[in-house]
């Protein structure tokens, strides 16, 4: 259902605004709206940006960057972070704490960055050296030779010839160039030359602006295989040092983090309040705050304000005009078993405040439709088991998955009930083993199944139209009320005439049936004025189409039962027992997957299109109360 909301106007002395916002922030039940949109122009002025600061904010603002930087420096942040309750009296302790810890954190962060930077450059050397190593003869291990590594993109590999030519001019033919692709984009080249020519080669490479991969200083002059071995050792050592430095930095931060997080929560809270000041109005001496709160919370808001702000701050409940009802923030409130279905309602869009919340109706009918389509005790037990498992594993991590698992669980329960009514266990396996249906065998009583599906459709569409009548009555929308009521009469009249034709209803109902039908048609045609003559017939045909659309309950169910039967037939002719069992498992698994997916989509569609179309109006604004989430730290001032 939609939570009844109250519109509050809070007025008090300008000096009390800060403590009022602090109080509302802690309460977390009032959505503050821009006063300029609510009050007559000139009644109050918005508080200018310069007037929105306070001593508290000026004190806390510089802390925000420091605290965020310190907490972000933690290389291993804890997923479930705790926060100490923080108030302004603890500020000196926090400042002393920051002054003592901040330099150490900075020093450790710098050291860690240096280690990481050094570690990051090493693979560049080893990658090139490893690729070039097989091409390098043993001669470079001689102390008389030096090497330079060049890395060029493939498209610039032609430059190597130019480099070779230029170097020949510079130092003569006393060097060798070995080139090989290092990866998909880069060619590595190794220049080998006498150590006596090192200076001239280096100088020329510098002048020609040819970039070299510099081997770390400690490996210069070392034979390549030995250098690689030492680099590997260095990498392993650096990894250990980085892990140790990260652990130490984490320990330092973790020891102080709860206090910092608590302080940061207070800073965020005060920042929220400063922003909220921009929504308040100012008459010079008094402030005006306008907001929405659940009706049930109004007394608590009044008491909290009187207690923590002052009894001279007035909280008045404003009347909600009919025009305003469309834009009232929407808060859904349903019993716990229906709550998972709120997600499905929101998927289409929040209902407007002046309409109704279909969650409860959806929670009743969607699992029934799902169960009527699944209709198999065997599948239902397995689906329920999987849903339970998913709920236990995923509900804590993903509320949406938890909700979906609950919905499927409810559907599976109804699937078991309908399975018993249809006498089905893994398709026709139950019948083969002697199980008798309590109500009907879906495979044989096709006409009965079709009538059952249309009957469900008739009742559900009628309920949707009835809800539409109620919503139209609340909205004082006479045309729509006439349309929905007329459509109900048409359906009832048509039902009576069909019952008469089938010989299931007494002939005495013929005249009343025709009268009801004619009155209904007249109401629908007349509901939209002269346009009703065009749209009315279309709407009537559409509504009958809506009822027939519920035949999908029979269609999906029949498809499922025939697939299950086919699985059992194939298992019977598969030859050896083990093969038959494997075939049966395979086909039943396939059928069960389809048996979960298809009924979910179809039941959802029946609600979204056939049912909601009769009364549901999306476009509601979600209620977003001002303040800290109750799950977060509760800072106090």
């Amino acid at each position: 259902m939609l939570t009844p909301m109250a519109k509050l106007e809070i007025v008090g002395h300008r000096a009390r605004l800060e403590s009022l916002l602090d109080c509302l922030h802690r309460l977390h039940v009032v959505q503050i709206v821009d006063v300029r949109e609510e009050l007559e122009q000139g009644a109050s002025e918005p508080i200018p940006a310069a007037g929105r600061t306070s001593e508290r904010w000026e004190t806390l603002r510089p802390l925000r960057t420091r605290l965020e930087a310190l907490l972000d420096a933690d290389p291993r942040p804890e997923p479930a972070a705790t926060a100490t309750s923080f108030d302004l009296s603890m500020l000196p302790t926090l400042l002393a704490d920051l002054d003592s810890v901040e330099p150490e954190v900075r020093r450790r962060v710098r050291a860690l960055d240096d280690l990481r930077a050094r570690r990051a450059t090493l693979p560049r050397h080893t990658r090139a050296l490893r690729r070039l190593l097989p091409l390098v003869p043993a001669m470079v291990e001689l102390d008389r030779y030096d090497t330079a590594i060049l890395m060029l993109e493939h498209r610039h590999a032609g430059l190597l010839d130019l480099i070779e030519e230029e170097l020949t001019n510079e130092v003569g033919p006393r060097f060798a160039v070995i080139a090989r692709p290092v990866d998909a984009h880069v060619t590595g080249a190794l220049l080998i030359f006498p150590r006596s020519e090192s200076e001239r080669v280096d100088a020329w490479l510098g002048r020609a602006q040819v970039g070299q991969v510099r081997v770390p200083a400690e490996f210069v002059g070392m034979p390549i295989p030995q250098a690689l071995e030492r680099i590997d050792e260095l990498e392993a050592r650096l990894d250990d040092e980085i892990a140790k430095a990260e652990a130490e930095l984490h320990d330092v931060i973790a020891a102080h983090a709860p206090l910092w997080r608590g302080a940061l929560a207070l800073v965020a809270s005060v920042a929220d309040q400063v922003d909220a000041m921009g929504l308040a109005g100012d008459t010079g001496h008094a402030f005006v705050v306008v907001g929405w709160a659940p009706q049930s919370e109004v007394a608590r808001v009044r008491d909290a304000i009187a207690e923590s702000v002052g009894r001279d701050v007035v909280v008045a409940e404003l009347p909600i005009s009919p025009e305003e009802r469309e834009s009232v923030p929407v808060l859904l409130s349903n019993p716990a078993p229906a709550r998972p279905f709120e997600f499905l309602v929101k998927l289409l869009g929040l209902p407007r405040y002046d309409t109704t919340d279909p969650t409860l109706l959806m929670a009743i009918f969607l699992p029934i439709f799902f169960g009527a389509m699944l209709g198999d005790m065997g599948y239902a037990v397995i689906v329920a088991g999987i849903a339970l498992l998913l709920h236990r594993r995923l509900a804590a991590r993903s509320p949406v998955m938890g909700d979906l698992a609950r919905i499927v669980l409810l559907g599976a329960a109804w699937g078991f009930v309908f399975g018993a009514l249809f006498g089905e266990v893994f398709g026709d396996l139950g019948t083969r083993l002697g199980l008798q249906p309590i109500w009907m065998d879906r495979q044989k009583a096709i006409t009965g199944l079709l009538l059952f599906a249309v009957g469900i459709g008739f009742a559900h569409v009628l309920l949707g139209l009835g809800t539409g009548v109620w919503v139209s009555w609340r909205q004082r929308n006479r045309h729509r009320l006439l349309d929905r009521a007329g459509m109900i009469l048409i359906l009832v009249g048509a039902f009576m005439l069909v019952g008469l034709m089938a010989g299931r209803l007494p002939n005495a109902l013929l005249t009343p049936g025709i009268v009801v039908l004619v009155v209904g048609v007249a109401a629908v045609l007349g509901s939209a004025g002269w346009m009703g003559a065009i749209t009315g017939p279309l709407e009537i045909v559409g509504t009958f189409g809506n009822v027939l659309s519920y035949l999908r309950i029979a269609a999906i169910g029949l498809a499922s039962v025939y697939l299950g039967r086919m699985a059992n037939e194939l298992a019977g002719v598969a030859g050896p027992l083990w093969l038959g069992v494997m075939v049966a498992i395979l086909f039943h698994a396939l059928n069960m997957t389809l048996g979960v997916f298809s009924p979910t989509i179809q039941a959802l569609r029946l609600h979204y299109v056939e049912f909601f179309g009769k009364f549901h109006e999306v476009g509601g604004r979600e209620f977003t109360p001002f303040g800290a989430s109750p799950s977060g730290a509760a800072p106090t001032t």
Partner: protein, 74 residues
Amino acid sequence: MTIGLVALAAGLAVGLCAIATGYAQGRIGAAGAGAIAEKPELSGRIILLIAIPETLVILGFAVAAMIIVLLGNG
């Protein structure tokens, strides 16, 4: 012979409607996927739009069922 024709008629009634539904859903689904990529909040409405052509195949199923029930025993 008669039963074969009845089965063929029922198959055509549901099969042709299924092709039409598939075609319509394919077109709507492709456009819907593009819309969701840009505005994920439209997911609910796109599901609704994709679901609308299914009525075609359900009506085809109704016709097929009527053919079988009314003519199948004759």
